[in-house]
């Protein structure tokens, strides 16, 4: 998984923040494409548990293969890339992000701006919340012949981060990750620079949390899933810990504050949503190959996603976590361990149920993607458990991230429509019961 899309898919949007988001993502890809010319070292890493502030302390720039894959999905290139990887012997049963990345590399690694992306100089394997990450970078290491660094992030199997877990991650940062980044860049680690960056991160995180929580209003001024993947673009990629990132989130916040004041609904590719009929919580990643079509299935029905779990894979800021300049390595460790897919299933259940209550959702829907066992294994029991806890109707649809063969539009549309009918029936029944009772 990994969210973040550039604003290209929302051509009708004119908000300043959207334009700024597009510029930021474009500038990131430009910087990446220019890395060989500017003699900038590149560090491939994953979004969950990414160490952006630390990477940038060394003047190196991250490559995010999941984001490249989803961009390829949105640009309808992923189907061919996946086919190429499967021709080379990669199984049809494994995560399509991996195959999309390998196919893209075979096709010359052309990024979303049309420029060639450089090969990584280091693979920084932030092993957070997904087993596939490990094999993915082992595969890339064979392909690129570059060194790899493992940061093993323990799973919150007991629903908590223990001091021992934190110490283990911090020790790896101190004794493995930082020395490897020093070696790669030739620069000395400067902890004060890291503190400065973390302070900027925390500020941007405050503003992002405001944006998420604005969806508690009626109507919700944002879509916290489809729209949400645009909001997280900068903070989940190269802009956490930067002034540009901070400015972007301040700008976004101002816009959303205005929408709240004016009681306006969220922007969508079809324009502003004026009637909010259903408020939903969504669990699981979106489909990227038919992203707009998928979103439209919701907006056509007047359904707005008020909160989503997917937009939390790169950090659970709305549960109170902030990067902390006073405890730089410790807070990076906690950040890594706190990403959504690093939570135990019972914790995920509580998390979703709380969203349903806090955001006064009418129901919750799981989009189960074939690629991602990290998300999908256990989603059926999650569905039943959240239904039990909240009394709200749960729905279940299936698709994939970037493999167009697994997005069956008619089927998914049907399911969404029937699901929303069920939600409506339940709502009406509840109102009737309440009416009788009164």
């Amino acid at each position: 998984m990994t969210p973040t899309a550039s604003a290209d898919a929302m051509p009708s949007l004119k908000d300043d923040s959207m334009l700024r988001q597009k510029e930021l993502i474009g500038s990131y890809y430009k910087r990446l494409a220019d890395a060989p010319k500017t003699n900038t070292k590149t560090v491939a890493t994953f979004v969950p548990g990414n160490l952006t502030e630390l990477i940038s302390c060394f003047g190196t720039v991250p490559i995010l293969p999941e984001i490249n894959a989803l961009q390829s999905g949105m640009r309808k290139l992923s189907g061919n890339y996946i086919a190429e990887a499967e021709r080379q012997g990669h199984s049809e049963d494994v995560c399509t992000y991996v195959k999309c990345d390998i196919g893209m590399s075979e096709a010359g690694n052309i990024g979303p701006t049309g420029e060639k992306l450089p090969n990584p100089d280091l693979l920084l394997l932030s092993y957070t919340g997904c087993f596939t990450f490990m094999k993915w970078f082992e595969l890339l290491r064979e392909r690129y012949g570059c060194p790899s660094t493992m940061l093993h992030v323990p799973y919150q199997g007991r629903g908590e981060i223990t001091p021992e877990m934190k110490r283990y991650v911090v020790e790896q940062l101190e004794r493995v990750v930082i020395p490897d980044l020093e070696k790669l860049s030739g620069a000395r680690f400067d902890i004060d620079l890291l503190r400065e960056k973390l302070a900027l991160s925390a500020k941007a995180e405050d503003d992002l949390v405001y944006v998420w929580e604005s969806a508690k209003n009626r109507p919700s001024p944002i879509d916290g899933y489809f729209g949400g993947v645009y909001y997280i673009g900068p903070i989940f990629t190269a802009f956490r810990g930067s002034q540009e990132g901070c400015d972007y989130y301040a700008m976004l916040r101002r816009e959303i504050e205005e929408r709240v004041r004016e009681k306006r609904g969220p922007m969508t590719p079809e324009g502003e949503m004026t009637t909010e009929k259903f408020r939903l919580v969504v669990e699981g990643p979106p489909n990227w190959t038919s992203f707009r079509e998928f979103w439209k299935m919701f907006t056509d029905e007047g359904a707005v996603v008020v909160a989503s779990t997917y937009t939390k894979v790169g950090g659970l800021y709305d549960r109170g976590f902030r990067h902390d300049p006073k405890d730089p390595l410790g807070s990076l460790a906690e950040y890594c361990m706190g990403c959504y897919t690093n939570l135990s299933l019972p914790e995920r259940v509580k998390f979703i149920a709380k969203y349903v209550e806090d955001y006064q959702a009418d129901g919750f829907l799981i989009n189960s993607v074939k690629s991602c066992a990290s998300f999908s294994a256990g989603q059926l029991p999650i569905l039943r458990e959240v239904e039990r806890l909240t009394g709200r109707t749960g729905g279940f649809i299936e698709s994939d991230l970037v493999d167009p063969r697994y997005f069956s539009a008619a089927n998914i549309k049907n399911r969404i429509e029937s699901y929303l009918q069920m939600v409506e029936q339940k709502r009406t029944a509840c109102v009737n019961v309440a009416g009788v009772g009164a």
Binding site: S148, H152, G157, R348, K370, A373, L380
Partner: protein
Amino acid sequence: MTRTTDDIVAECETLYYDVDFAPARNWKAEAAGRKVVGFLPVFAPREVVHAAGAFPLGVIGAGDWLEVIRGDAYYQSYLCHIPRSVVELAVSGHMDFVDGMLFPSTCDVIRNLSGVWQMLRPETFVRYVDVPQNFDLEIGGRFWEGELRTLARDLSGLTGVEVTDARLAESIRLYDENRRAVDDLYALRRDEPAKAPTSEVYLVLRAGNVLHVETHTKLCREYIAAAKVSVRPKLDSSRVVVVGAFCEQPPLGLIKTIERSGCSVVDDDFILVSRWYTKPVGSEGGGFQALARAFVRNSIPTATMYSFRAGRGQAVIERVRAARADGVIFAAPSFCTPALLDQPMLTDALDKAGIPYTAFKYAENTGQFQPIREQTGTFADSMKLWSVA
């Protein structure tokens, strides 16, 4: 009375099909307060469970002999089969006597199954066993030692038996002995596959999941002795290493099919927990430290463990050479992320080394063996042709 290989294999086969885990169930019923702690593949610190006075019970799915009805309601079709059969065992009462479960960090499916189990059986003791992927003794080793100590303390809370140094040292000794017996079993099969075919060795090996460690060690020794003196026709098979079947297990029928098609399996990665360390663990410096040291230094290379150097395929090449094998059969469970993502790295290495291979996928309840028989039969024939050429 001395038993023949047939007698021993018949006993193991009964254990193989026993979805009620009679030995562990009976042991528990014999005295009040006894506890049984199950574990999933591919690895669990059985020594610690044993030292805490519990029965370590390997749970490895229900193969093709338990119809999965309710388990399918827990898992989508695009996930492997083992979690649904484990859930089936749980919800249909076959594991009602199990007091605790350990879920190792094998992959995301088993990781998430730990949560499903917590929701399914909230009254049971459940621990996620997060093995280190950092192999520096001072970092990953220390973390793992801490995890083992915590697990020991928690297990003691369950059983009422303290994991003392002496108890742990004794448990390690018993498991070291068991691993030696399993190594000898594998060596016999490698050297004389006609006398110890994999369809038998597998059953003997697998019995280790459900028997007491000492009982299993004796069983291995007994089988080795009986196999050595058995008189069996010589084989004209190709020698193969089977790779990828380390978690969800192929049905016994599939293993027999591979053999009948003309392949002698001379190495494999079935039930890895029984051969996890390449050297005896010992208890130098104390049991916890010895277990941690063994884990970071002497774990066998497998797809679920990070390889901190490039060249993942080298280990397979070495296994092929050590087993004097002619080729490799990649047999992976459908939708098995670790096995299937590993495979391209291994096949690349085999291509470069000129070692032939073939690949197929299975599920633990696969019932159609004919296509596999044709595939591995053709593979065996082609290897013979190459070796003649």
